[in-house]
Point group: C3
Chain length 340, copies 3
């Protein structure tokens, strides 16, 4: 496959064909991720899981995905403890760390840092998030989830009517998702946010140039009825100039059982990149929706493991060897085999 030996730095590197190939591999990962079987295809391989910005969820998801393929994980978390703080260039850091691993996943607070790192790396690098710029594996797992959820509804991706909701200005996940959606034609996309947190024009343009039907609104009840998938986001408080400014939007658009019943299609799918802010005054996605069949947020995070496993397998060229290194699961699997 074309991913073999390649870096994954941006969603812009992905064609529709490549995505279909990748998602087919991700589907093959489900029996291993849900503990119906074990594969040890990467036994002996090492992932350098280099998180120069903390992110428990993403870091553990990558690490787990590599372990599920049988590989080992070496990690770092945080910037201060690293040689970068002593003036080492990303080029040097990459040269050194790439001597320690077969593949590297890197997160860093600065936009463009991972691409710069990749230049110095002697092994493939996956962008685990470079500040305000990109987080391509999140976008891929979001698209994968959209397809799976539509498919559960008996729908094709061409029938997608997606409402993105909340802080569309700062949320890099919705930006990257726009980019991926531009590979399709003729979808319906509603962008609902306070005007000050509207989707940047460049991404609206990307959607419109792809021939999608785009509706921009600042009213919750306008954006919800037509959606078969709702993508709610957190107010990215850390990206505002002041906390006071951020506080103005706390809890601005709340999705809860009442709103959902009143305005949404039956079983409309709810996605969220997580974490959701469950503090009382924020609460953009209420816990009273937790038992709704349409709430896909944990299927979505589970899908992240599948997509990351698929990326590792394709980049390292083992996607056709999974069953060769297969074994039965000999322990009691706590995971619900029906999840995802």
């Amino acid at each position: 496959m074309i991913l073999k030996g390649q870096h994954v730095l941006s969603v812009k590197d992905f064609s529709l064909d490549l995505i279909h190939e990748l998602f087919a591999v991700a589907d093959n990962m489900r029996p291993y991720a849900t503990r119906q079987k074990v594969t040890r295809v990467l036994e002996g391989a090492i992932l350098g899981n280099m998180f120069f910005e903390p992110s428990t969820r993403t870091r553990v998801s990558f690490g787990c995905a590599f372990n599920l393929l049988g590989g080992e994980v070496r990690e770092t978390t945080g910037l201060s403890s690293s040689a970068l703080a002593k003036g080492e260039s990303l080029y040097d850091t990459a040269q050194v760390l790439s001597g320690y691993s077969d593949i590297i996943c890197m997160r860093h607070p600065d936009a463009g840092s991972v691409a710069e790192f990749a230049i110095g790396s002697r092994v493939p690098v996956i962008n685990g998030g470079d500040g305000p710029n990109e987080h391509p594996t999140q976008a891929l797992l979001d698209l994968f989830t959209i397809q799976k959820e539509l498919s559960r509804q008996g729908r094709d991706i061409q029938e997608l009517s997606l409402t993105m909701l909340g802080d569309l200005k700062h949320g890099r996940t919705v930006h990257s998702l726009c980019q991926l959606l531009s590979l399709y034609r003729g979808l319906k996309v509603q962008l609902v946010s306070p005007q000050a947190l509207a989707m940047p024009t460049q991404y609206v343009d990307i959607l419109e140039n792809a021939g999608h039907q785009v509706v921009v609104s600042d009213k919750l009840d306008e954006g919800l009825p037509s959606a078969n998938i709702i993508y709610q986001t957190r107010i990215q408080e850390e990206r505002f100039a002041t906390q006071a400014e951020a506080n103005r939007y706390r809890g601005y658009f709340r999705l809860n059982k009442q709103v959902y019943s009143e305005h949404c299609q039956p079983n409309a799918v709810i996605m969220h990149p997580l974490p959701r802010d469950s503090r009382n005054d924020a609460n953009e996605l209420d816990n009273d929706l937790n038992l709704e069949p349409g709430l896909a947020i944990f299927r979505q995070t589970d899908n992240g493991v599948l997509v990351r496993m698929a990326l590792f397998a394709c980049i390292l060229g083992v996607e056709d060897q999974l069953s060769k290194y297969e074994r039965p699961v000999n322990w009691f699997p706590g995971l619900d085999p029906l999840r995802g």
Copy 2:
């Protein structure tokens, strides 16, 4: 076994039968922990070792126990770097992280947090310590050690005369141990502490209601002579209102060679949950006892690995498969095979 697929949240969940079963499995773990043999029974399984409060010793003990069974470990340390700091609920964190692992060990600074987490988890959760509340695996390893040490003396658990010493007010390990001891009848328990740091009444009641013979004292030399096992504790300085208040009890009850020789039975067993505070002005358990055969503190911590291995094996239902995945040790074992 009854533990299969279960959470371990509290010592209150343990019956005497369950403990006997668990300890029998722990005994079976000794050849693997002492490097006479290797077992790979959990190869392919993943432990989520989620320490939202730092604890090197406990974290590494759990991780090591899982590795000794052949499994992989994904970890986190500390609260700030986690999504919890962005307002994520424990329910959400659990939903997400349980998609990444086969079993989770969790430590968190808040009482009740681990039980709350377990509600959201799709895999079994072991309480690695929830603040001032419980630390059940410590209590289990303490009881296991008491049995082993009595057995080394040719004694049965019914012959136990236990003196708990020091900060009995704040020490959650002694509280949990009281709980476990209440499963027995007719033991001798001496509680020796400064009056201000006395064992809370509820735990004294638990012991007395179980029919144990309880003596409360604030004098070191009253509590020691009758004990065949002494359980010394550290003044939990971090639990006091002020450092000045804590300082009053620094070094209040010191156990050293002179006190030991003068007041204790020959070869009386000394336990301690560790860390012991070896600073000059604290020094509740002096280094001049390090070569005493009765000093069981490192056998005690070694036992923690056995008990944690047993918990993992029983919860994941592989306790009868250990030898099936067995191999010889092909490297030079540095560990003293006679320890423990």
Copy 3:
């Protein structure tokens, strides 16, 4: 081999014979480190990678080396989160942690701390750096690199003409290297530094007592022409009394393409313990040298993996079993197989 079951605390423990034996084993590690083959010789063994002072590079190098032999790694990073902060002695920490692993690598900010730790450890301990004192594996990988680089030039170690450059006062790597070089006789060593950062007399004496021809200078252009190997160092700013004092020496001796062309032998080898400070005003080793064939700094860090693998294998007594646990690499190796 004599290393079996031993601690590695100081370069002073190494004889020339031992070094030759160790380096021969390190050579055998190359096919595994460069992903031509996999060995699982230490499958089931556990490294306790205890970094009580942060160091991403060294920590990951040790962890990777152990993983490359098939073993598992349990880690800690940083002092504050550890029991040491609650007054636990190094003896106790060692007793506890050595119950969790087959071998320990330890780094700690205090000189002598690792040796003190080793007294309490029941498994072999490798010094991963004890503050200003020693970092023996760095010295070993430096000497290994010197031999390999000379060999690439068709030279024997006896033909070495080494120029050490920069902060020779604070750099523990150059001190340890002097120690190792004292095992040889009749080498040429140039020591070039600002007078205030000169090599301490004791190390000059060590070199002279070994019969080496030592030249001390504070002029860059005097030290370079005769060298076939140049060992540049970073100004160790963190070891100065004040930042102002450190700033005086920032960028004092810069090695760049122009200096290299003008003053150095063709293809003179450039080494550096890394990290190099690539900030504009420091920049002791310019990026314009990155494509010079003589720039050995990344071959040097790659060699660190080989030497650490060799140490693990020899200490655990498996250096003759590597091929017995060998497998082909079944994934696409991103690493340049010609590196190193």
